[in-house]
Amino acid sequence: MVDVLAPETTTVQIDGPWVVRLRRLADVSRQVLSNPTTSAGLVIIILLLSLTVLAPVLTEPNVPNPYQMPRDWGARDAPPGTPGHLLGTTSTGGDVFYGVVWGARTSLRLSLIVVGVTVTVGTIVGSLAGFIGGKLDEMLMRAVDVLLAIPELIFALAIAAVLGPSFGNIIFALSVVFWVKYARIIRGQIIHVKQNEYVDAARITGDSKLNIFRKDVLPNSITPVIVQATLDMGGIVLTAATLSFIGLAEAGLAEWGVLVSDGQAGISAGKWWASTFPGLMVFLWALAFNLLGDGMRDVLDPRTEGR
């Protein structure tokens, strides 16, 4: 009574691999941005990046080093709204607005460097552990366990303290502390590929490790690494600001944590602006990257949100 229809023959267009990738990128982006909170995060990031780009335009760069707060002994502790000092001045006459704007630059440099280093180091270590396996893998994983035993902030604090107070040392300390998650992602992906049944076994055994890395590990690792890197952009600046606040950066640096710390003393006298505005910037920076990273994670790695 019912029979199977004769199969139609149609010609099928197959898009090139890059077209497919771009289309997927567009789809994913649309999905990510459909969430209003995620889009809000992206907007804030764009605003922050504009600040970094426009720093020399918005303010008069300090000489000789624009990353040092200018000192104007004639205009100390000026409240916000004072002409020429939109957000007021610090106890040494530094313009708070200047600190806010150039602090954004400092934070951007810091986070890009640390993310770059940690992703690289993490990928290398993770690849070694994953590809070589065996004893080396075990040793590396034990080392990772040991590193994770020390809470991140405290570890970075100790390293920076031992090396001496300088912003460069803060960058170094953070790099030492933050690479671990990437190693785990890469290693996990390699192990997954090794165990994967429906990957062409012949190709795996015949292919060079580099090829496997390129074709199987890399494409699948990109998304979790990007998500983690986005979240880290926020977390690194947060931790760095805390370290600077405690006092591990050079005095007078145009960095948000330093500014909050400098402004602390004036609080009991009612001079709230020197700490509040830079601190607000740290919050906004971390918030924006967390919102974006979270939104990306929901789309790219959904687990329970699907129901």
Binding site: R142, D145, A149, L157, A158, L163, G164, V260, S261, A286
Partner: protein, 337 residues
């Protein structure tokens, strides 16, 4: 019984990890400056310095130094704390009460609020309470503790004058004895209500600051855990039995959602530990965190090492306990699924 094997393995590795951590701490101390600085009590003569170097094997190769140092740690000799002008071990014991008090109060606040908020949001998924919970959670995770603390101080101390910094009002503090080092406990033991109130009064602001971030972490986990449980069949089956929604939530969904939430307690505790450094600075709390902050600024190696070692061991222990608890609670579920 893979869980049991897993736990046994964790227990066996535990001391190894502690040893590994101690090696890192030791390595750090050798990176910065003069190793003998850890043991220097005051201006010492060359003879005294030489004697110290002899005692702690500071002229020997590194592994020997490590063993000497390690032996010292195990016997309670971690050097001299320049910052507090006492042996490190003594300073640690003196300050631990203050930090533990703060941490525990913050933890209680964080757990109670976090679970409550997570339940509030998770039960009303995608409606406004849920969005509120999520905004709160992300804010909590992004909030710089030092900024939040300062904001609270500006509002409640400078402007409203309701609270102040410090751990106690010195005049009240000195009216009772302090056997435990935990102010609230001491007040209870002494039966002194005024002291108890004083202790609590000073705890509120720092605990709120510390608790905020941890609340966010716990609320977020509780929310997603609850959402997951609510989508399970047994919840519908419970409703089909005619149970009112409150009972379904309380006895079935929420109770089971609490179990995975236990896992973030370890994470939250780490957060609390790190937060104490900043909070103790800003609120002038005489605990371990401030001790470490001072040490960092003055390059007091001994204190730094001791603090890092102590917090790591504490962190590891709490995580291990949490994992054991989780394995115990989850045993039934894991075996069944």
């Amino acid at each position: 019984m893979q869980i049991r094997e897993y736990l046994l393995r964790r227990l066996m590795i535990f001391p190894l990890i502690i040893v590994g951590t101690s090696m890192i701490v030791f390595g750090l101390s050798r990176v910065g400056g003069n190793p003998v600085a850890i043991y220097l009590e005051h201006e010492m003569s060359a003879a005294e310095v030489a004697e110290l170097e002899e005692r702690y094997g500071l002229n020997e190769p590194l592994p020997v130094q490590y063993l000497a140092w390690g032996r010292g740690v195990l016997t309670g000799d971690m050097g001299w704390s320049g910052v507090s002008a006492q042996p490190v071990t003594e300073a640690l014991v003196n300050r631990i009460g203050a930090t533990m008090e703060l941490a525990i109060f913050s933890a209680i606040v964080a757990i109670a609020l976090g679970i409550g908020l997570g339940t509030f949001g998770g039960a009303r998924r995608n409606r406004w309470p849920d969005h509120l919970t999520r905004v709160f959670s992300i804010s909590g995770a992004s909030m710089p503790i030092f900024w939040f603390a300062i904001l609270l101080l500006i509002l409640f101390w400078v402007n409203l004058g309701w609270f102040s910094t410090g751990r106690s009002e010195p005049t009240i503090f000195s009216t009772i004895s302090h056997p435990t080092g935990v102010y609230t406990l001491d007040a209870l033991l002494a039966g002194n209500i005024r002291a108890l109130l004083d202790a609590l009064h000073h705890l509120i602001l720092p605990a709120a600051t510390l608790g905020f971030g941890a609340t966010a972490i716990i609320a977020r986990m509780m929310r997603s855990s609850l959402v997951e449980e609510l989508s399970e069949d047994y919840v519908d089956a419970a409703r089909a039995k005619g149970l009112p929604e409150k009972l379904v939530m309380r006895r079935h969904a929420r109770r089971n959602a609490l179990i995975p939430t236990v896992t973030v307690i370890g994470l939250g505790f780490g957060f609390l530990l790190q937060g104490t450094v900043v909070v103790e600075i800003i609120f002038r709390w005489p605990g371990l965190g401030r001790w470490m902050a001072d040490a960092v600024l003055r390059g007091d190696q001994a204190t730094i090492m001791a603090y890092v070692l102590f917090t790591s061991v504490l962190f590891l222990t709490v995580n291990l306990i949490v994992d054991i608890m989780y394995a115990y609670l989850d045993r039934r579920i894991v075996l069944g699924a």
